[in-house]
């Protein structure tokens, strides 16, 4: 298939070797923005699901580029190159893209090819960021092959990759413990077993009610993701409540201890690890917000940051 109206017979194609982990991931794509050069925010139509291989930061990604030439034809070109690009697309402000990686491999100097041919390539270097699709920003990795021709335009082909950073159990993982309250009104102590959670983890905790003078209706935990882009005056914060999880119904009495158990796996949508600083462009943090609602619908809350990390690919 060709994306151009003519020269249909020439086909340039990237074939990736299976990723070492052999993990793949389905990514929803808008078919109208199939190329790397159209970094517009994606409207929700024409969604196409593509399966992409998943690589860790260090894993080599290899594959081949094949050129198919119809029988009896030849192809004169000015060179074939393949490049791996890591790009941050910004949708906020005036937008813009920032390539933090751009590795190029010259596969063929300018020449004439008479027969269908295949060129192997591999890229073996660290990929510093995870693939990410957020509200105002996204991180993408893709491999692009370009066959430059003089007159009839270039032939290109593109393949997206998914990069995920796999971590090991953090060595230091203290619990979160805190006493909060409003004087003579509400006094609670909460405790979450740890501060750092893998994506499939369970948030386990306890809430002790030391003083209850308000009529509590219920209590919930909200999982919030905050995406911060830019810096200084151009800082854009976008908070998103991923889930509201009711942990208590009714009003406890003094001395009550309410258990908390929240399965991160049960959160709709996709969790990612916490990104502290992605190329000075953005950061992504997760918070759990403990909210107490009283009978007059007043809300009392305390927000705590939790760090998420990735244990397994997928």
């Amino acid at each position: 298939m060709s994306i151009f109206g003519f020269g249909t017979n020439y086909k340039l194609q990237i074939n990736l070797d299976p990723a070492p982990s052999n993990v793949t991931k389905e990514i929803k794509h808008n078919s109208t923005s199939a190329t790397s050069d159209s970094p517009q925010p994606l409207p929700n139509d024409n969604i196409e699901v593509r399966t992409v291989p998943v690589y860790t930061a260090e894993e080599k990604c290899s594959g081949s580029v094949s050129l198919q030439i119809p029988q009896g034809k030849k192809c004169e070109h000015l060179g074939l190159k393949v490049e791996l690009v890591g790009r941050i697309d910004m949708f906020y402000d005036r937008g813009g893209a920032h390539d933090f990686i751009s590795q190029v491999r010259e596969l063929e100097p300018p020449s004439t090819v008479y027969d269908s041919k295949e060129w192997k390539f591999d890229f073996d270097f660290d990929k510093p960021f995870e693939s990410y699709r957020g509200l105002n920003v996204r991180v993408r990795y893709f491999i692009k092959a370009t066959l430059t021709r003089n007159y009839s335009g270039s032939l290109t082909s593109e393949k997206e990759l998914c990069i995920q950073h796999q971590s090991t159990e953090p060595e230091i993982n203290n619990s979160i413990k805190m006493e909060v309250g409003i004087e003579d009104c509400l006094h609670i102590e909460f405790e979450y077993e740890k501060q750092k959670y893998s994506l499939g983890d369970i948030i386990i905790g306890k809430i002790y009610f030391l003083l209850v003078r308000i009529k509590i209706k219920h209590m919930e935990l909200a999982v919030i993701r905050r995406e911060s882009c830019g810096s200084g005056p151009n800082l854009f914060n976008e908070s998103e409540t991923l889930m509201k999880f009711e942990v208590m119904d009714g009003a406890p009495v003094k001395g009550e201890c309410i258990p908390v158990r929240l399965f991160l796996a049960g959160i709709p949508g996709e969790l990612t690890p916490t990104y502290r600083n992605v190329a000075n462009k953005f950061s992504l943090k997760y918070y759990i917000n403990l909210v107490l609602v009283d009978e007059e619908d007043r809300r009392y809350f305390k927000q705590q940051e939790v760090t998420l990390w990735r244990k397994t690919l997928g």
């Binding site: 119904d249 009714g250 158990r261 796996a265 049960g266």
Partner: protein
């Protein structure tokens, strides 16, 4: 809080039920399609209806039951999934993704149940997790129902001893800890309901709602009692202390009362016996408004029923009575505002307990009565309230059924009686007599009788009011009162029959005492009580007589024996003399052996009260009644006469007879009564066979005169006929017989004459036939004055008159009798033996 009208409630309820039905419909479709995700989400939607706060507990229960019905399908679905091989742990995690706490926990419990059943994890771990998680519902009503679902689901999955989950799944400790924990939390939620919003005005309503919910809390105690592995030791060391701790800590009146009662009802008696101390200790710490009395009472009842009169079942070293008593004492000390009736009720309960568990311990009963007495004497108000009166009455009546007469030995009993008003004392007295009768009590000492009669004073005499003399004819109320009065007096009369002493002297003294008491009863009472005394007295007279006779007989025997002895002694002396005389120098005297000594036994004691004295006593009694009840007294005199006659007291018998005659003359004016009395008099005279001939003569002459002076002619005729027998008393062989054939004929002829005068009433034929029969009777007895010609004449007369009678029932009756009489004569005529004698009678046939 739900605070809406009934209509609104029903609207909320039906709307919620409609939604449940709808979600359940889709949910079941999802189950059929084996779509786990969809099923869970729809089940959660359905369960979300249980989040409502709008419904009253009662309506919430309706909704809950509906939801639970549908939830069964989900449980079944989980089972199916499990059987198909999907591990439960995944499902257990998955249902916890649900963001709402109420549906999440219902689903968790539903999966948890299947999880335990699958055996994929130890039961105890799952139970622990569930009991921890359900804490998340703190809203009282929702929490209670959620925990009830947990309790229901886990019921058959506890790792109890002998259960299939025991072992890896845990042991009975895990089982009861789980139930205890659930109980604790449910109780707390239930108590909290009391304090939820609202002011005083809604308190009543809240309390009612709480009452509706209490069974949910109590169910946990039932579960505990159903655990096989819980023995008395565990109960004592762990389970009860835990429950009681909750009871004490919750400081809630409704909960304390209900839970204490629950404990008593659900756990076995042996457990209660083992833990009486701690149970009672807790009782004293309960809130003041808790009705401690009902709690102690039901515990005591429970143990009493267990012991069931068998003192061995309650270990002696337990000393349950003292324990209960100490507890009650402490409560009385601490609760100064306890109502008098409540105090009395407590003591009543304690006494009932003592009676049932320690049947022999009168001191216990006496102690309880004493407590009441001292409480009563300490009260300042002179007038007791109605409840207290009822309570005292109850208190005094209860020991009666088991102790009967023994209560008279209780010092405090009589004292307590005095606190009661007359009416109530009367009730107690009735029960006392009844139970004494029922227990076949024996009144054999003066002391006993005196105590009994003093205790039943209200039955014996009217209430003595200050300043006014006792009304002699009080106690007469309406018809029902009258019947009650008669019943009571009959009871009192029956007391006489319980007087039973082997010694006639004591018996007489007892009767005299009874007489003294009864004498105060007034005219209305003696009618019922004294006759009974008279009859008993008559019986006594006979036994005294028998005793006297035996003494006399003995005296004559002793005299004979004495003579015999004397003779023997003389003979012996003579023999000795002879032997001495016959002795020579060579042959020393050989003394004859002494004869067997004749022992003269001691005479039996002669009665101190002579028979004569008894009759005198009776004479007095009857005379006392004579004025008010002449008819009755007349009968009694006649009865006394018969007995006196039997005892060979001719003069006394004559006296009694003459008293009866005087009564007849002076007091009996009613012709019917006269007729009745006359019949009795004739009968009496005929049964007395020991009169002096002159006495008898005058008595029968008098009787016959009375008969002839009756008002109605037919009565005259019948009585005169009857009197004819007086002149022909006793068979010819009887030495005391009295035969005056001429007078017999005179009587019969007189009767005929009278009958003839009855022509107008056409009763004459009937009378003729009767007289004919009398003629026939004497004729057969060979009365020389009665000749066959009289019979023939009479028959002719009857034949003549009978045709003139109207054809009616009366005639038919007469004809039958007459025909039978003639038949009898006919038979006699044919009989070889009597043929000759009867030949002369002309039957006109």
């Amino acid at each position: 809080m739900a605070s809406s009208s009934n209509e609104e409630q029903l609207k909320y309820l039906s709307e919620a039920q409609r939604k449940v039905k709808e979600q359940a419909f889709y949910m079941k479709r999802a189950i059929d399609a084996n779509d786990i995700t969809l099923t869970l989400s729809l089940a959660a939607d359905m369960l979300r209806e249980l989040k409502t706060s709008l419904l009253t507990p009662r309506n919430y229960y309706e909704l809950y039951m509906r939801v639970l019905d549908e939830l069964r399908h989900v449980e079944e679905f989980f089972m199916t999934l499990n059987k198909a091989g999907s591990p439960m742990v995944e499902l257990y995690e998955r249902v916890q993704h649900c963001a709402n706490v109420v549906p999440r926990l219902y689903l968790l419990i539903a999966v948890g149940g299947v999880y335990i059943k699958s055996g994929e994890a130890p039961a105890k771990d799952i139970l622990k997790d569930l009991i921890e998680m359900v804490k998340c519902v703190q809203y009282p009503t929702r929490g209670l129902f959620l925990r009830n679902y947990l309790s229901q689901t886990s019921r058959d999955k506890l790792p109890d001893t002998g259960s299939e989950y025991e072992g890896i799944g845990g042991d009975v400790t895990d089982a009861y800890e789980f139930v205890l924990e659930n109980f604790k939390e449910m109780n707390r939620l239930w108590v909290r309901l009391q304090h939820m919003g609202g002011d005083k005005s809604t308190r009543k309503k809240r309390e009612k709602e709480r009452q509706d919910l209490k069974i949910l809390v109590g169910t946990n105690l039932v579960r505990l009692s159903q655990l096989e592995g819980v023995d008395a030791h565990t109960y004592k060391e762990t389970i009860l202390p835990n429950i009681l701790e909750q009871v004490t800590l919750c400081k809630d009146t409704i909960a304390q009362g209900y839970l204490m009662d629950c404990i008593i009802q659900v756990f076995p008696d042996e457990f209660h016996l083992a833990t009486l101390d701690i149970f009672l200790a807790t009782c004293t710490t309960l809130k003041e408004k808790v009705n401690i009395r009902t709690i102690l009472q039901s515990m005591m009842n429970r143990l009493a029923n267990y012991s069931d009169g068998n003192a061995d079942k309650i270990p002696a070293e337990l000393d349950a009575f003292t324990k209960f008593n100490n507890c009650i004492t402490k409560i009385l000390e601490e609760r100064s505002n306890l109502e008098l009736s409540e105090i009395l009720r407590l003591q009543t309960a304690l006494m009932t307990f003592a009676l049932k568990c320690y049947p022999g311990r009168l001191d216990y009963v006496n102690y309880c009565l004493g407590m009441c007495a001292s409480v009563l004497s300490a009260t300042k108000t002179p007038e007791l309230d109605e409840n207290s009166i009822i309570e005292i009455e109850e208190l005094l009546s209860i020991p009666l059924s088991s102790l009967a007469l023994q209560v008279l030995e209780l010092k405090q009993y009589a004292e307590l009686l005095t606190y009661l008003p007359y009416e109530n004392r009367r009730q107690v007295a009735t029960i006392l007599v009844r139970s004494t009768l029922f227990s076949n009590g024996k009144l054999d000492t003066l002391d006993k009788l005196d105590k009994l009669l003093s205790s039943i004073t209200p039955l014996i005499k009217d209430e003595e009011k200050d300043g006014e003399p006792p009304a002699s004819d009080a106690g007469a109320g309406g018809a029902s009162d009258e019947a009650e009065f008669v019943d009571e007096q009959t009871l009192v009369a029956r007391v006489i029959h319980m007087i039973k002493s082997d010694d006639t002297d004591i018996q007489f003294k007892l009767f005299s005492m009874a007489r003294k008491h009864f004498g105060q009863g007034g005219v209305k009472r003696i009618k019922h009580t004294l006759p009974c005394l008279v009859f008993s007295g008559l019986r006594l007279a006979e036994s005294v007589k028998a005793r006297e006779v035996s003494v006399t007989k003995f005296a004559s025997r002793a005299e004979k024996a004495g003579k015999k002895k004397k003779k023997q002694e003389e003979e012996y002396a003579a023999a000795c003399k002879a032997a001495e005389d016959a002795a020579t120098e060579e042959e020393p005297a050989v003394m004859p052996p002494p004869p067997e000594p004749i022992v003269i036994p001691d005479p039996p004691p002669a009665p101190k009260t002579s028979c004569r004295k008894v009759f005198q006593f009776l004479h007095e009694i009857i005379t006392a009644m004579a004025v008010s009840y002449p008819e009755l007294s007349l009968k009694l005199f006649l009865q006394a006469a018969i007995t006196a006659d039997k005892c060979q007291f001719k003069a006394i018998a004559y006296e009694f007879m003459s008293q009866a005659f005087i009564l007849y003359e002076d007091e009996l004016t009613d012709s019917k009564a006269q007729l009745q009395a006359l019949i009795l008099m004739v009968g009496t005279l005929l049964s007395c066979r020991n009169f002096e001939s002159d006495d008898y003569d005058s008595l029968i002459t008098k009787t016959t005169q009375y008969a002839a002076k009756l008002l109605k002619k037919p009565d005259q005729c019948k009585m005169v006929t009857l009197c004819s027998h007086l002149f022909y008393a006793g068979a010819a062989s009887d030495p005391n017989h009295y035969h005056d054939p001429k007078r017999v004929l005179e009587c019969l002829q007189k009767a005929l004459k009278i009958a003839d005068g009855c022509m107008a009433s056409s009763a004459h034929v009937h009378l003729f036939v009767e007289i004919l029969n009398q003629y026939l009777y004497y004729f057969e007895l060979d009365n020389p004055a009665i000749q066959d010609k009289y019979l023939s004449g009479l028959i002719a007369l009857i034949n003549e008159h009978i045709d003139g009678m109207d054809h009616n029932e009366q005639r038919a009756e007469v004809e039958v009798t007459y025909r039978n009489t003639l038949k009898h004569i006919g038979r006699k005529k044919k009989d070889e033996k009597t043929k000759l004698k009867f030949q002369g009678i002309n039957t006109g046939a």
